[in-house]
């Protein structure tokens, strides 16, 4: 007993907090093209390197290299570039609108646009995506009307959610976009259930799910992986590792000891860790996982390694918990800049065209903004108060009818 080691409690801490120098050199990314693209029938154990390394296609020169190069034609790439730029312009405007008091809340996905936009273009929209609140790029890439997104953000009279959800909790079944809950991780196992249903029916559609690095700690994450593995569900389980869960660094989700992708290996699920700021890599990994799912080979775990350049939401100030210069020093760069560089390197794009497109997307967002604001910003117009009592059940039971009458609406 006397020789026993005195135990000590470990509480993890990030490398840098505000005021500390930012040193990302331990994260120096491996070269693009280094990892092979396994056959889709691969055993989980043979994706060890993919789960711990980093799948990258775009190199520093902007060239697409290696086995994961999805060899997309320039048109698809320009569409992806446009979707990412439009998403960023949309985020900028809506963040500003919140600051101007025109809505209660907003969440940007700045720096992580490639994760949602590439997947949106890699998958048909009759597959079902179970997104988090940071996959707005998926709707935008699929040309969901910006005005409708804004109508929801303003909870105005034309809000598709009928004023019932706080901003950015979209629903769009016709676009393969499941209703966003707002509770973290809950939708990860639901996506597995949807995929099981598709398999049960002998359908060809698959599901795709998103979760943040922080919420992989929730039990729902582990139940999703268990069910996906047990029933070989045709689902893509995406973990968006953007380094920060509000003020908690990814170490609080256990990232210090392993990668998030490597979690999948323990469940027998082939797992990939992907440069999330590389549009081509995200596209290729999504395609590979979709092929596996459609071939009845089951689920794939994909960790998208990226950085949340924006605050968590309009409600937090990231300079209070992380060094302000982290975003610009992020070693994987910016997804828009990297795809732009690639297109220019291919001779399919130019600085002038980029500038023009930038202006065009800002204008498109502005025009949608005007249209939506004419219907009303938060408080200026809203759906009928009666809507409060609708859709609780398919048919309104007597007690809700009476409560509606009590309110006098």
């Amino acid at each position: 007993m006397t020789n026993a080691t005195k135990l000590s409690l470990h509480v993890p801490a990030p490398k840098a907090r505000p005021g500390d120098p930012v040193d990302f050199s331990p994260l120096t990314p491996p070269p693009a093209g280094a990892l092979g693209r396994p056959d889709i029938a691969v055993h989980a154990e043979d994706t060890r390197d993919h789960a711990r390394g980093l799948i990258r296609v775009l190199n520093d020169e902007g060239e697409a290299v290696g086995a994961w190069n999805p060899r997309l034609n320039a048109e698809v790439l320009r569409e992806g570039l446009r979707a990412m730029m439009l998403t960023r312009a949309f985020d900028d405007r809506m963040f500003r609108m919140q600051r101007q008091g025109k809505t209660s809340f907003y969440m940007k996905c700045t720096g992580e646009e490639a994760v949602a936009c590439a997947a949106a273009l890699a998958l048909p929209r009759d597959d079902m995506c179970f997104p988090t609140y940071r996959q707005q790029g998926m709707l935008i890439a699929r040309a969901y009307p910006l005005v409708r997104m804004m109508n929801h953000i303003y909870s105005n009279a034309a809000d598709p959610n009928r004023g019932r959800q706080m901003p950015v909790h979209y629903t769009a079944k016709a676009y393969g976009f499941f209703s966003i809950s707002g509770n973290l991780a809950t939708q990860f196992p639901q996506a597995v259930g949807w995929a099981m249903a598709s398999a049960y029916k002998g359908d060809t559609r698959i599901a795709t799910a998103y979760i943040g690095d922080g919420s992989t700690s929730e039990g729902d994450f582990h139940q999703a992986l268990t069910f996906a593995s047990v029933y070989r569900a045709p689902v893509i389980l995406n973990i968006v590792n953007n380094q920060w869960a509000i003020s908690s660094f990814q170490g609080f989700a256990g990232a210090g000891e392993s990668t998030f992708a490597a979690r999948g290996l323990g469940y027998g699920l082939p797992s990939l860790r992907v440069d999330g700021n590389d549009f081509l890599a995200v596209f290729a990994a999504t395609q590979w996982a979709a092929e596996r799912a459609r071939a009845n080979l089951g689920a794939t775990v994909i960790e998208h390694y990226t950085y949340r350049a924006a605050p968590h939401s309009t409600s937090d100030d990231p300079t209070r918990y992380r060094p302000a210069e982290e975003a610009e020093k992020w070693p994987l760069g910016d997804p828009i800049e990297r795809l732009k560089k690639h297109l220019i390197a291919r001779g399919e794009w130019s600085e002038a065209k980029h500038k023009a497109l930038d202006k065009q997307v800002v204008e498109e967002v502005r025009a949608a903004g005007k249209e939506s604001e004419a219907i009303g910003t938060l408080g200026q117009s809203r759906p009928s108060v009666k809507e409060m009592f609708e859709d609780v059940y398919k048919d309104q039971p007597w007690h809700l009818r009476r409560q509606r009458q009590e309110l006098g609406v």
Binding site: M128, N183, P189, G193, A197, T226, F227, P397
Partner: protein, 332 residues
Amino acid sequence: MVQALNSALDVMLARDPDVLIFGEDVGYFGGVFRVTDGLQKKHGLTRCFDAPIAEGGIVAAAIGMGAYGLRPVVEIQFADYIYPAYDQLVSEAARLRYRSAGDFFAPLTVRTPYGGGIFGGQTHSQSPEALFTHVAGLKTVVPSNPHDAKGLLIAAIEDDDPVMFFEPKRLYNGPFDGWHDKPVEPWSKHPASDVPEGHYVVPLGKAAIARAGADVTILAYGTMVHVALAAAAHAEVDAEVIDLRTLVPLDLESIVASVEKTGRCVIVHEATRTSGFGAELAALVQEHCFYALEAPIARVAGWDTPYPHAFEWEYFPGPKRVADALRAVMAA
């Protein structure tokens, strides 16, 4: 009652290819209470199958299946095990239609055996129905006999809203009336054991009069319907026993009609008293029948303790306690 529930599931599996069943031990083995016995063999491996021991995952998967367009029926082996699924039921299943303005909905049925009287201690005896009646968007059903169990379960499966279906496990094999030291008659001697073959529905939201009477109304559901009947006989009171069958949506009309007639009301449930569903019932009776009441409303319920093993019959609100309440209300 087990056979009636099994028959409901059998009928629905045969009728609707979108109905499927899963849960812990429900597949090959047929469930620990045998409710899914033979269904996998008869309808196939993908129609009735086993699930990981993960209640949250079971309900979450069912929500995803429901959103796809199926009508999943899941079993939570004991209501005492349902809490890991509570977030999925409360935050997800109950609100999907509302939050998406009807874009998505999940018509799932959650079957779960509840209640005491089986020496199950605090982890196999609970009655957590009030935790679900409190949730906007869920329906809550509790059958009390084989005929209703089958018809209500079919109605629940066909319902487009998520339904919590609480099965009184003490009634699985007979109409237990709370006299624990007397043998329980088999269901076959009970009129409600006459269960039609094939498809029929007992509509949700409609109560039944288990016994017509003039002097006092007893509001009960599940096992306590039979306890209430035994208590009325024991106290020699002409009680009207209302079997609520569905707690949400509640058949207030039947309750009001009865209490206005009798002027007295005793509410019984196994669940703990504080914030139990009886509190809601008492409030409603007071709001709607105040001027008809000739005595204070009485509640007989489980004590506000965990369900104890060795003190089963002191805990269980049996016919003696209910009879005492009836006498007190009649004397008031």
